[in-house]
Subunit: 121 residues, 2 copies
């Protein structure tokens, strides 16, 4: 395992939450999501995104409709279902809790490194 791989691992799981957020704003198709995620430095690729959208659809959190494009093949525009909105809320709460938990761990490390010199063996 290397550092890059570990950094990728860290992003896993968060991705699903971000995608739901983007879809919650209104109808979007895959390329829209890729653009937004890329500009937020989340680095996603098609091979990740499409299976993920299919999973979310099969779980009942997304729905989509085909819309013809003026330049190219038709696109799948996704929207959140009512269940999906509930799910997104739960995910957002989990995110804030997780961020809190991590912050608590970081904070505790900083606290201990101030007063405690026992680890300078």
């Amino acid at each position: 395992m290397n550092i890059e791989n570990a950094q990728v691992q860290m992003r896993k799981g968060i991705l699903e939450f971000c995608i739901l957020h983007i879809i919650s704003r209104g109808e979007v198709y895959a390329s829209d999501m890729l653009d937004e995620l890329t500009s937020a430095r989340m680095m996603v690729v098609e091979g990740t995104l499409y299976p993920l959208l299919t999973r979310l659809k099969n779980s009942g959190w997304l729905d989509y409709k085909w819309v013809e494009s003026s330049s190219g093949p038709p696109r799948k525009y996704y929207v959140l279902t009512e269940e999906g909105k509930i799910f997104l809320d739960a995910m957002q709460e989990t995110w804030f809790e997780l961020a809190d938990s991590v912050q608590a761990v970081i904070h505790r490390t900083e606290e201990l490194s101030k007063g405690d010199t026992s680890k300078t063996s």
Copy 2:
């Protein structure tokens, strides 16, 4: 897939970072880590922790020594290697970037839901 499963997914990857943080404070053994992570609501179990510690050890970021216990079998006390400290720094930077990225996505959703009523179909 259900909500609980998705919440678990979100925690993945972050765990490794938190464990490195805890070890960075000084010598600890597995039960210490489980206590701290549980109190930070990270919900880890042995079947996750031990293989993870072994991976980190094999990657050269941790080292350990056996210490005899006054009550029970000997314990593996882990410490960060020099490489591990560099790795932890990189992970911490990734964490802050990731938190920023997620915050940006959340923020953008909030912005768009203020001025844009097109999604109230």
